[in-house]
């Protein structure tokens, strides 16, 4: 019985720890199960010669027990804030990730504790950077989602350190490993929802849209409120970006579609008003739904769309006209009043600056004449080559990941039983590919498009 071997006091505990911390194997075999059974108060005490175990233990070699001590102290009633923060911060720079992954719950408590303590201390920002570093070491690969992700991004949001979140957010999450990261479906939803909010704050709408889409299309048998909130933001962001509500993947759960339809009336009406490109109609809808937008905390985004509709209209004009006077532009995009041409000029100027349109304004004619041009980028510079190469590299990485997954599926028990069953009953093997033997479908240009459009291989 392991119970009998349990240390009776802190001194013994530390002894026990140092004996068993030699190798990873002994840590897993002896230390981990025992530490779990030790009662919490143990972790709060000091040794008999009045030393703090936090000072005694090595932060790297004894990462596992150290996590237990820190977690317990973070939850204690009256911790020594400054000292504890010190300990946590230094621990976060040196911990052994393999040991820590054995107790993801405790590690999360430490991280949360750090945030709480620093906030108590009056400066939440100092937790951000160490956490970011810790998170990068803690995650098995940058593509793994961990239980720390969503709380970290949330902290970034709360302390408005959007940029600090980027090194984490820029890695697309594709890997899920529940045992070593202790995640729940809300981790996935919240991480991507908060991530989208960070990107919205940084005005990277493309990426925000991608994150929100992940939330909405998450596998679901019921609809989560997070998904509904995500859809609200999704509709506004896609208006800003594309002028209409972007499409959702086919595999989006039908319950989600239904709940969204029932609960996001305001956003859908607003979007169809935007799609009509009718400024007056959009303003009316905006007035009508202002309270709802405010309640959902989406008023800022909604206000941006009021601006975006002019830009969208001007963009439309570039498709239709080569030259157009400022007065005509003002008229066509729905600007009103005596100053309309001036405002229109302002919009055009700003859009030229941000390279949304390519145009020149000439004031040699009366009222000012705008000439629209095509995109001057002829794609014949070294920049294009760099871009293309970068893109190809990325695609190859993704493809490799797919091939790896394909092999894993091919080796999985489910696949083998199923294909065996199919063979004996004379049916075709699902997917048509043996385990990883022909990943050619990724390289063929003809199959490429099909591969994107048709998610059947994965769903």
């Amino acid at each position: 019985m392991p119970n009998q071997n349990l240390p009776a006091n802190v001194d013994e505990l530390i002894q026990f720890i140092s004996v068993n911390s030699d190798s990873y194997e002994t840590v897993i075999k002896h230390l981990a199960p025992s530490l779990k059974q030790i009662p919490q108060p143990f972790y709060l005490q000091g040794t008999s010669d009045n030393k703090d175990p936090l000072d005694v233990l090595d932060q790297n070699f004894c990462s596992l027990p150290y996590t237990y001590f820190l977690a317990a102290r973070c939850q204690a009633d009256r911790p020594n804030v400054a000292r504890l923060i010190q300990h946590i911060l230094s621990f976060l720079t040196v911990f052994d990730a393999r040991q820590v992954r054995l107790v993801p719950d405790k590690f999360l408590q430490v991280a949360q504790g750090l945030c709480r303590l620093t906030t108590l201390y009056g400066n939440g920002v100092i937790a951000i950077k160490p956490l970011a570093n810790a998170l990068q070491r803690y995650a098995p690969t940058p593509n793994h989602l961990t239980n720390l992700h969503q709380m970290f991004i949330k902290e970034c949001l709360l302390s408005r350190c959007y940029k600090q979140a980027l090194p984490i957010l820029k890695n697309d999450i594709t890997e899920i490993d529940v045992p070593s990261t202790a995640i729940f479906y809300t981790d996935h939803l919240l991480y991507h929802y908060y991530g989208a909010m960070v990107y919205i704050g940084l005005k990277n709408y493309e990426r925000a849209l991608y994150f929100l889409r992940l939330v909405i299309s998450a596998p679901a048998s019921v609809t989560s409120q997070i998904q509904i909130e995500a859809y609200k933001k999704f509709s506004l962001v896609s208006l800003l970006l594309h002028g209409k509500i972007a499409h959702l993947p086919k595999y989006t759960a039908s319950v989600v579609f239904r709940s969204v339809k029932n609960q996001c009336q305001a956003y859908q009406d607003f979007a169809s008003a935007f799609e009509s490109l009718n400024v007056k109609r959009l303003r009316n809808e905006f007035v009508k739904w202002t309270d709802i937008f405010r309640k959902d905390k989406n008023l800022g985004l909604a206000k941006q769309t009021l601006n975006a509709i002019y830009r969208r209209n001007i963009q439309q004009l570039t498709q239709t006209y080569l030259t157009l006077s400022l007065a005509d532009i003002a008229d066509a995009v729905g600007l009103e009043g005596r100053d309309a041409p001036k405002i229109a000029e302002n919009y055009v100027l700003r859009m030229i600056e941000s390279r949304e349109i390519f145009a020149t304004i000439s004031h040699s004619h009366q009222n000012g004449m705008v000439s629209f041009h095509d995109n001057p980028d002829r794609y014949d510079t070294s920049l294009t080559i760099t871009q293309l190469e970068e893109q190809i590299n990325k695609s190859t990485t993704v493809s490799e990941r797919v091939i790896k997954t394909d092999r894993l599926v091919g080796c999985s028990k489910e696949y083998l039983t199923k294909s065996q069953h199919m063979l004996t009953t004379g049916g075709a093997i699902p997917g048509g590919l043996g385990p990883g033997d022909d990943p050619d479908f990724l390289g063929g240009s003809a199959g490429f498009e099909h591969f994107i459009d048709d998610g059947k291989y994965f769903s």
């Binding site: 899920i176 998450a218 019921v222 080569l322 629209f372 002829r378 893109q391 994965f458």
Partner: protein, 435 residues
């Protein structure tokens, strides 16, 4: 989708329009092409819409009802309307033939009773053919009395007793006729298909079915399909012995077919399916202006086209089937003319273009802008110099742009699917269960 909505909205707007005066319509000759219900329907339709022809139309309708039907209810209602109109204009009122009404009422009733008794007897004797005849006669009677829903029921009932292909076709034609009058065109479709699947259809029947299906497509705003069917219709339908004048006249086929074709065909189709179509040429002989219209369009004489369209517009607004489509068809034809006008050029002076289309530059610019936004014309407007310029497509840049975009999309969607797959594998599904 949007366009369809647009079409429906436009149709509603033209539903109750009043036509001041017809351009070329001669009521007597026009209506002599028809017989039966459609004659009355068309007359009453014209009477409702065109004040000038109102009196004559009502009189002709009353005449037809009295001579060739037992529909006393309709007779009375038409007469009342005529009298209302006459009183307004200060003319002496029309005297209703009450003796005819009374006697017809009685006759219709006794006939109905007799037919019902006969049918009952047939049913007792269980002879299929007699039962079918009984239902058919009863249907004919209801039809004569203007009770269309009951007529439809009786005709449909004969279905179970049809023994030969001929019977099936007879049943189908009856149902189609009544359904067209009721405006139930989805019914028309299914029965046309049913009839066409029977073996050995005579060419005349085939032609009738084509026309019926075409009308159904027209009602559904499917102008291209309608045009094709009208154009495939055999000219045999115009022979006195087997005409379809209880539904449509050969002149109508020329007009409907011509307009639908113009509104929906491209140039090569117009040439191969309309101008080189010997069968349809015979129809066009009946309505020379439609022929002129089509040739004008094909030869790019747009002022002629617009002129003819304008001249005949009021007449078409008085047509029972065509009226609600006139605006749509005209719009489409004009759009196509604009597109075709520009197609051979790199740049076009909008002043000249406006002249050929009988409009001013401002309006033309608006029309063109709409066409460009809807992607019908690949061009851009130089609003300063008033020139329309064809869009220079830079294929190379396009490819680069697309390739980069596609790479992005590939990366995103693949990553999303990998994530999804792993989520499913770990069973991280949004559900009501708690941690």
């Amino acid at each position: 989708m949007m366009e369809e909505k647009d079409n429906v909205a436009k149709r509603k707007r033209t539903l109750d329009i009043t036509v001041e005066a017809p351009n070329n319509l001669d009521l007597e000759t026009y209506i002599s092409n028809y017989r039966g219900h459609t004659k009355v329907d068309r007359l009453l339709f014209i009477a409702k819409r065109c004040p000038i022809l109102q009196n004559d139309a009502y009189r002709l309708a009353l005449q037809e009802l009295r001579d060739n039907s037992l529909d006393h209810n309709r007779y009375i209602s038409a007469a009342t309307k005529l009298n209302e109109a006459l009183t307004v204009q200060g003319f002496p009122s029309f005297s209703i033939d009450n003796t005819w009404v009374d006697s017809t009422q009685k006759r219709a009733k006794s006939l109905l009773e007799r037919l019902e008794v006969e049918l009952k007897n047939y049913k007792n004797n269980l002879i299929k053919e007699s039962i079918r005849m009984g239902h058919n006669d009863l249907g004919d009677h209801y039809y004569n009395c203007g009770n269309l829903t009951n007529a439809l029921k009786c005709y449909s009932r004969t279905r179970d007793y049809c023994t030969t292909a001929k019977h099936v076709i007879e049943m189908c034609l009856n149902v189609i006729k009544v359904s067209i009058e009721l405006g139930n065109f989805s019914h028309v479709h299914s029965y046309v298909i049913k009839a066409e699947s029977t073996p050995d259809i005579q060419p005349v029947v085939q032609a009738k079915l084509k026309v019926a299906a075409a009308l159904a497509h027209l009602d559904n705003n499917k102008y291209k399909l309608a045009a094709r069917l009208f154009l495939e219709t055999s000219f045999e339908i115009s022979h006195a012995a087997n005409n379809y004048s209880e539904v449509i006249s050969p002149n109508d086929i020329a007009v409907y077919g011509g307009l639908c074709a113009l509104a929906s065909f491209d140039r090569s189709e117009l040439k191969s399916k309309v101008i080189d179509n010997t069968e349809f040429k015979q129809f066009l002989e009946l309505e020379p202006h439609i022929r002129e219209l089509i040739h004008g369009f094909y030869n790019s004489k747009y002022s002629v086209v617009l002129d003819i369209l304008d001249k005949w517009k009021n007449d078409y607004l008085l047509d029972l089937h065509l009226h609600s489509h006139v605006e749509n068809l005209y719009d489409n034809i004009r759009k196509k003319a604009l597109v075709q006008y520009f197609s051979p050029f790199l740049t076009v002076d909008m002043n000249k273009m406006a002249q050929s289309f009988g409009t001013n530059v401002q309006n033309l610019e608006r029309e063109l802008a709409k066409l460009i936004t809807d992607n019908h014309i690949q061009a851009r407007i130089d609003s300063h110099k008033k020139i329309l310029c064809a869009k220079q497509q830079d294929q190379r840049s396009g490819i680069f742009y697309k390739a980069l975009k596609m790479g992005d999309e590939f990366e995103q969607s693949t990553n999303a699917m990998l994530l999804r797959m792993n989520l499913l594998k770990s069973n991280l599904v949004v559900s009501t269960s708690q941690k």
